[in-house]
Symmetry: C2
Subunit: 140 residues, 2 copies
C-alpha cells in the first residue's frame, strides 16, 4: 500500500477540488506516481500508452497543466530540454544534473535556503519561489 496509495492520493486530491478523474487521467496519475526519474511530457505519454491506456499527447499536456495548478506535481525546466515533471511530495528540494549522463539528483540544504531568504530580505523582497540547479560532472 505504498506505491498504490500515491496514485490514489493524487486522485483524491483532484476529486476534492472538482477535477474529474477520467480513464486517461487515472492512467497518467499512475505513471507519475510510479516515476522514479524526472520524465518529460512525451515520455509520460509513451509510458501511459505502454501501460495500455489510450491517451493523446494533447491530453497529457492538459492534464499536466491541471496537476501543476493543483500542486500535485512540479514542473522542472532545465536548460535546453523539454520540461520534466515530478510528483510534489511536499518537501522542497533542489536539483543537480549530471551534464554527462543527464541524470537528475535531488538535494536539500537548509543553509542555502536560509541564505536565499536573507539576501532577498536585505534587498527588501520576500521569496515567492526559487530555482537552484547545479550542472555537475563526476569527479575523477
Amino acid at each position: 500500500m505504498e506505491i498504490e496509495s500515491r496514485a490514489q492520493a493524487f486522485e483524491d486530491a483532484l476529486r476534492r477540488v472538482g477535477v474529474r478523474i477520467t480513464r486517461q487521467r487515472a492512467a497518467l496519475l499512475r505513471v507519475l506516481a510510479d516515476a522514479e526519474d524526472h520524465p518529460d511530457a512525451t515520455q509520460l505519454h509513451q509510458r501511459a500508452m505502454a501501460a495500455g491506456a489510450g491517451v493523446s499527447l494533447a491530453t497529457v499536456y492538459r492534464t499536466l497543466a491541471a496537476l501543476e495548478t493543483q500542486g500535485v506535481i512540479q514542473k522542472l525546466e532545465f536548460e535546453g530540454e523539454p520540461a520534466r515533471f515530478e510528483p510534489a511530495d511536499g518537501n522542497h528540494h533542489d536539483h543537480m544534473i549530471d551534464v554527462e549522463t543527464g541524470e537528475v539528483m535531488e538535494f536539500v540544504n537548509e543553509r542555502i535556503e536560509r541564505l536565499q531568504a536573507e539576501i532577498a530580505a536585505e534587498m527588501g523582497y520576500e521569496i515567492v519561489r526559487h530555482r537552484l540547479e547545479l550542472y555537475v560532472r563526476r569527479r575523477r
Copy 2:
C-alpha cells in the same frame, strides 16, 4: 571612454578569434553594450533596427549564439519566457526576478557559492555551472 569602449572591447575580442565584424554585428554589439536591462532576442532586434541598422532576426539569433560561444555574452533562461541576454562582465552573479514587475536584479553571495561546491563535492561531483534564481515580491 566607458560605454564606448565596451562595444569596442567586444569587437576586439571577436576579431581576435577570427569572427568577422559586419555592419549588423557591430550594431548588435553596440546595443548589447548599452543594455542596462536584460533584453531578449526580439528586443535586441528592435533596438538595432531603431538605431538604424538593418538586421534580420535570424542574424540576431546567429550572432547571439556566436557571442555566447565566445563568452562575450551570457544567455539567461528564466521560467516561461524567451531567453534574455546580458553582457558577460567577467564576475559571476545570480539573478533575482520581481514576479510582479518582471524586473531582473543581480546579486552575488560567496557563502552560497561555497555551499554549492561543498554539496556537489560531498556527492562526488564538481560543478560545471549552476543557476540560481530567486523569484521575489517586494515586501510591504
